[in-house]
Amino acid sequence: MTAAALAAASPPRARFRLDYWVGGAAIAALIVLIVLPLLSLFWGSIAAQDGLTLGYFARVVTNRLYYQALFNSLTLGAWTGLFSLLIGVPLAWAVVRTDLPGRGFVKLTATLSYLSPPFLLAIAYVNLFSPRAGVINAFLRGALPGHDFTFNIFSMPGLVLVTVPHAFPFVYLLAASALASVDASYEESAQILGAGKLRTALSVTLPLVAPAILAGTLIGFVNAIALFGSQAIIGLPARIFTLPTRIYALFNYPPQYGLASALSLIFVALTVAALSLQRAYLARRSFVTLSGKGSRPQRLSLGPWRWPLFGFCALVFLVAILLPYGSLLAVSLSKSWGLAFWKNLTLANYAFVLFQYDVTQRAILNSLLLASLAATASVALGAAIGWIDLRTAMKGRRVLDYVSLVPLGLPGIVMAAALIQFWLKTPVPLYGSLAILFLAYCARYLPLGVRAANTALRQIDPSLEESARILGASWGETMREVTLPLMRGSLFAGWILVFVPAIQELSASILLFSSKSMTVAVAVYNLYENGYIEPVAALALINAAIIAAAIWLANRVGGASRVASPA
C-alpha cells in the first residue's frame, strides 16, 4: 500500500539536469571571457618568432620609456591614495559619528563623485586650468598682474587633482560602513573604564576601523592608476606617460604586441599585489562586522567645530562636483568658451552633438545596448557562479569563484589588450565589432555580478530552496519560484552597479572600438582630441544625464518592488 502511494507521489521523470547545463555554460563562459584571453596575454609576452623569449620583459624593465611609466603610475597612485585618505576618512567620520549639519549633502557628494565619469572631470578641469586658455588661470592673471598664481593642470598635481574625486569615495564608503558597524558597546565600555572621548576614539575606534580604511585606500589606488581617460587627457600634453597610456601607445601602428603584453602583465602584478594587501586588511576587519547587532553608534557633538568641518566638506563638493559640472554646463552653452559668457548663450552645441555629428546617436545607442546587455549577462553569470559556489558540492567550485574575481586585478586597458590578442588568433572576426566590447564589459564587471549574487544567496537560507525540492519542485522550478524571486532585489542592485560604469567605460573601449562600434565615452574622447571644446562639454553632460536617468529609473523600479527579506 505504501509502495503504491509512493509511486503515485513521484511519477518517473525524464532526467534533464538543467542545473548541469547552467553550470556547464557558466564554466564555458568563464573560459572564453577570462581564461583564454589571459593565456593569450601570457603567451604574447613570451612568444618570439622562433620559440620563447624573455626579451620583452627585459626591454620593459631596462628601457626608460616603460619603467618611467610604471614609476609615474605609482606616483599618481600614491598621491591619490594619500589624498583619498585625507578626504574620505574625515567625511566618513563626520557623516557617521558627528552631528555635522548637512550630512545628507556630504553623502550625496561622495555618491556623485563615485558615479561621475572620470574623463568628464579631466575635461572640465582643462577648461578651467589649462595654462593659457583656462578661465580661472586667465582670471588670476587679469586680477593679479605681475604675480603668477596660475595652476597648470597639465602636470602631476593636476592629474592627482582630477583623479582623487574618483578615488576618495572608496575610502569614504569602507570607512563609513566600518564606523557604522562598530558596536557602541565597545566604546561605551572604554568610557565606563574612564577613557575620554579622544582616548576612546584613538585606542578603541581607530584600531577597529583602520583595516577597512586601508583596504579602501588600496581599492582607490588600484582604480586610480587604471583610469585611461584622465591620464590621457591630462598626462599626454604634460608628457607624463603612465601604464595605461603607454600600453595604448604600443597599440598604435605598427602594434607591438609583445611589449604591450609584457607591460600589461607588470601592470596586473602591481594591481594584484595591491588587491591582495587589501584582502588581507579586509580579512582582519571581520571582527568589526561580526558583532553588529544594529546598535546605534554614538554621535559626537561638534559645537563650534562643525563649521570648519562643514567648510571642508563644502570644499570637496566644490572641487569634485560644482566646479566641474558648473563649468561644463557653462562651456556647453557657450558659442565659444572664454568670450563674454552671457552674450554668447546657445543651445547649438547640443543640437550639433545630437543631430549633426553623425557619430553621437549611434554611440548613444551602442552604449545603451552594450551597458544593458553586459549588465544582464554579468549578473546572470554571476548568479550561476554564486549558486554553484554556495549551493553545490561541485569539485573545483572555489576555482570558479576565484576565476570570476580575476578581472578585479585587470585594468580595463589590459583586459582589452588580452581580448584583442585572443580574438585575433581565432578565425572569428570579432575585433572591431560590438561583440568584443560586449565581452570586454562582461568580463570587466563580472566580479560585481558575482558579488551581488553572493550577497543575495548568503541572505537566503538553503532550507528555503530545500523545502521546495522536497515538495516536488525540480531545480528549474525551485529557481523560478523561490531562489530568483528572493534574489531579485540584490540582482537588480547589481545590474545598476554594472550599468553605470559600463555606460561610461573608456579604458577598454579605447582599444576595442571601431567607427561602427563607437561608444559615448569614446565619442567624447575623440571629440576632445579634435579640439571641439564646446560640443565635448555638451556630450559629456549628455553622458552624465544618461547615468542620472538610469539611477533615477532604478530607484523608481527598485523602490516599487517588494524586496522581501527571508525569515
Binding site: T2, A5, A9, S463, R469, I470, L471, G472, S474, L486
Partner: protein, 361 residues
C-alpha cells in the same frame, strides 16, 4: 515490513575518519504510521540522518529503503523532489515572498492539481492547522507559531506518506512549544502519516514519540519506546541524556549469598546485567525520583542518613543536593517536604529502579 529501513548508514563530512563520521553504521526500522524521534545532543548526527532520508545528502555507506525500494545508497540517490515526502525545517523555511496561500498551494501546483481542487485542499488544510482567514498574509506578518503552522500545512497538503521534522519547535517560546507539541501529536494521529522527528529535547521526545532513537556521536545508542528508553537505558550515555540522573562510580561486591553494588556508604541489591561478577567496576545510575527523602523523627531512627547541602525551590517540587559520605545526590521531593540546608534527612532508594553500566576500567 517496516516502511523506512535504514541499514548500516554512514555519512562523513570532509572525508574524515570513520571515527568522527556524522552518522556511523546506523540501522533503524521505522513502521508505517509511527511517530519516531531521533534524539540526541547537537552534533550527534540526528539532523544528518534526517537529511539523508530526505535525499539532500548522499550516504558514504549503507542504504535507505522506503516501502521496499532503495532510495539512497552510495551509488545513487533519488533526488528529494521525487521522494514524495514532506519536511518541516527548524527555521520554518516559509517563503517570505509568497502569501500563506501561495506557500501552501505550492506543492499542489507542482503536482498540476486543478486550481479549484487545490483551493479546497488548501482551505481544508489551513483549517486543520487553525490558520483560516490568514490566506493572503505574508509570513513577515505572522508570529513564529503561525509560520510554523504554515510550514506544516505546506508539507501536509500534498499528503505525503512520510513527514520529516527537524527540530520544528525549538524556535518557539516555552508555552507555545507545549501547545504545538500537542497539536503535532493530534495531527499525526489524525492523518496517520509516518513522522520522523528530530529533537535534542528529551522531554519533547518522551511526550510525542511512539519510539525514540537515541543517538550519540553518530551512533545509535538505543531504539525503543519512551518508557523503555527512560526506565531501562541501554548505557550510561542514554541514562545521562534522558533527564536528570545521579551517576556514581561503583563496585560489585559479594554480600553473603548475593551480589551488591556499592558506592560510598550506599549498598544496593539490584538486578545486574548478565556477565557481571564480584570485583567489577561499574557506573551506578539513580534517578532523582527513585530516592525518597524524609525528615528523621528522632536521632535513633534507623536508615541512610544524609546531610542537606542545598535546596532549590521549583514550585511544584523542591530539588535537594544531599551529601552522603563522599557522594552528592540530587533528589527531587514534593512541595510538602521542607528541609533546610544543614539539616539531616533520611534517604530510601528504590533499588529496583536503579541501573548499573559496566565497561569502566
Amino acid at each position: 515490513m517496516a516502511q523506512i529501513e535504514i541499514e548500516h548508514l554512514t555519512k562523513r563530512y570532509h572525508g574524515g575518519e570513520a571515527a568522527n563520521a556524522a552518522v556511523a553504521d546506523l540501522s533503524l526500522a521505522i513502521e508505517a504510521g509511527a511517530f519516531v524521534t531521533l534524539l540526541g545532543p547537537s552534533g550527534c548526527g540526528k539532523t544528518t540522518t534526517l537529511r539523508l532520508i530526505a535525499g539532500y545528502l548522499t550516504p558514504d555507506a549503507g542504504s535507505i529503503a522506503v516501502a521496499g525500494r532503495v532510495l539512497s545508497s552510495p551509488q545513487s540517490v533519488l533526488p528529494p523532489e521525487e521522494r514524495g515526502m514532506g519536511m518541516v525545517f527548524q527555521n520554518y523555511a516559509v517563503w517570505p515572498h509568497k502569501t500563506v496561500f501561495e506557500n501552501v498551494v505550492f506543492g499542489l501546483k507542482i503536482r498540476r492539481v486543478a486550481a479549484a481542487e487545490a483551493r479546497t485542499r488548501v482551505a481544508r488544510m489551513l483549517d486543520l492547522v487553525n490558520l483560516s482567514g490568514l490566506e493572503s498574509r505574508y509570513p513577515g506578518e505572522l508570529s513564529g507559531g503561525q509560520q510554523q503552522r504554515v510550514a506544516l500545512a505546506r508539507s501536509l497538503v500534498v499528503e505525503p506518506t512520510i513527514l520529516l521534522l527537524d527540530e520544528p519547535l525549538s524556535n518557539l517560546d516555552a508555552k507555545l512549544r507545549e501547545r504545538m507539541r500537542m497539536e503535532l501529536k493530534q495531527l499525526q494521529r489524525r492523518t496517520g502519516i509516518t513522522f520522523v522527528y528530530v529533537t535534542h529535547d528529551q522531554a519533547e521526545a518522551l511526550a510525542l514519540s511512539d519510539r525514540i532513537a537515541v543517538m550519540h556521536q553518530g551512533r545509535l545508542q538505543q531504539y525503543g519506546t519512551p518508557r523503555e528508553v527512560y526506565r531501562r537505558p541501554a548505557n550510561r550515555v542514554v541514562a545521562d541524556f534522558m533527564g536528570l540522573v545521579n551517576l556514581f562510580p561503583a563496585e560489585i561486591r559479594q554480600n553473603g549469598a548475593g551480589l551488591v553494588v556499592t558506592a560510598g556508604p550506599l549498598e544496593l541489591a539490584l538486578d545486574l546485567p548478565p556477565g557481571m561478577g564480584a570485583g567489577d567496576k561499574v557506573d551506578l545510575a539513580i534517578r532523582p525520583e527513585s530516592i525518597r527523602l524524609k525528615a528523621p523523627q528522632g536521632a535513633g531512627e534507623p536508615g541512610l542518613r544524609g546531610l542537606i547541602e542545598e535546596h532549590t525551590y521549583l514550585g511544584n517540587l523542591t530539588e535537594y543536593v544531599v551529601a552522603l559520605g563522599p557522594l552528592r545526590l540530587r533528589v527531587q521531593a514534593g512541595p510538602e517536604l521542607d528541609l533546610a540546608p544543614g539539616s539531616e534527612a533520611l534517604l530510601s532508594i528504590d533499588a529496583a529502579r536503579c541501573k548499573v553500566f559496566g565497561g569502566r576500567e
